[in-house]
Symmetry: C2
Subunit: 216 residues, 2 copies
């Protein structure tokens, strides 16, 4: 058994390929060339072939990749060939928006339980998800063996919540709280910071064109 | 006038520093060391000093950075020392969630007009933002001289909408539509793909620990 290191950027692109392949498949496409995939993702065809080669070579020269089998291979590599149960912590403005987010389903993510500390919300059902008391997090997540959490609490509460989630056995966190969270090495975290992305765009608007050039 | 190239990653971190500095400032902090900033962002102190040195050296050895002036310097560098008028295209489930998103204000972004093609929505006011007919996009954006757009339309409509926005003079796009969008070189785009981030987390959950190692 050979252990190879897959660059993080390749892992990211796999999700993009998958998205694109789903789209092609819905449109009735049966095969796709690395050139087409490359164009749709905005990388080189060589990069596509390299990314996919980490996981075995599924393409055939002159024929391209079979869309359906590539979808199933990538899903399997990413661990998306099964359903993931996800918990949402914080059902405020952003959290309730996330309960509405249509993108999770496609990837097999299901928010199975949500938590909030607001007594007005506890016990309510929002988009088929029951909102539970935050004080029950540790017990419930342990019992349900949930491994993925989405954090949408205010910045001031985020670290304490993170510590609780990790004690409960959470191994992957999607963080919408606008602050750095300290986590142990065996836990993964991705932070989505929408305003920050706009901040980056504002920088390039201010300093001209799409180049990161600065006059000093 | 010297032209220096600022790495994209440094630009990204500037927004993170800003976020953190705002947080420190709210807590009453007057100065901060590069060590503290580094810890909060999870990079090395040397990296912090390097990032900030691209824009002039604001720190003083043994004293650290003045929180207020660093906030104002970073805001100015990022172009966040003024208000940005933003348009939202698509007021479906995700779009209306974004009208709710509390993060924009902090960075000076204001959604000034939203568009949708659903007659039931057109003319309504949602969170103080008037929803206009999508067919008016080009005319209105030109008139209001808006430069930043948030795209939250379904994947099938995203490219056509993008072309319209670019004809109207949009120079920066925050894309929530789950597909690659073709844009000219002088337009910037950032794609936020929440399900994809979960996909990446699922990969690391499946393949163990926080290392991108794969057994093959």
């Amino acid at each position: 058994m050979k252990k190879i290191r897959v660059p993080e950027e390749s892992v990211k692109r796999l999700s993009l390929y998958l998205r694109n392949l789903n789209y092609l498949s819905q449109g009735g496409a049966e095969t796709v060339s690395s050139d087409e995939l490359a164009q749709n993702i905005c990388v080189s065809a060589a990069q596509v072939r390299k990314d996919l080669s980490y996981f075995g070579d599924f393409g055939r020269r002159g024929v391209g990749y079979n869309v359906k089998s590539l979808i199933s291979e990538i899903k399997s590599v990413l661990g998306l060939d099964k359903k993931w149960s996800v918990t949402l912590v914080g059902v405020g403005r952003l959290g309730s928006a996330l309960l509405n987010y249509p993108g999770f389903e496609e990837f097999g993510f299901q928010i199975s339980v949500a938590f909030d500390n607001n007594p007005k919300k506890i016990g309510k059902i929002w988009k088929e998800v029951k909102i539970k008391d935050s004080s029950k997090i540790e017990k419930m997540i342990k019992r349900e063996k949930i491994k993925i959490a989405i954090i949408a609490v205010p910045a001031s509460a985020a670290q304490e919540m993170t510590d609780t989630l990790i004690r409960a056995g959470i191994k992957a966190i999607l963080n919408f709280s606008p602050r750095y969270l300290s986590i142990p090495k065996n836990v993964n975290i991705k932070t989505v910071d929408i305003a920050m992305e706009l901040g980056n765009l504002a920088y390039y608007l201010t300093h001209g064109e799409s180049e990161a050039d600065l006059f000093s």
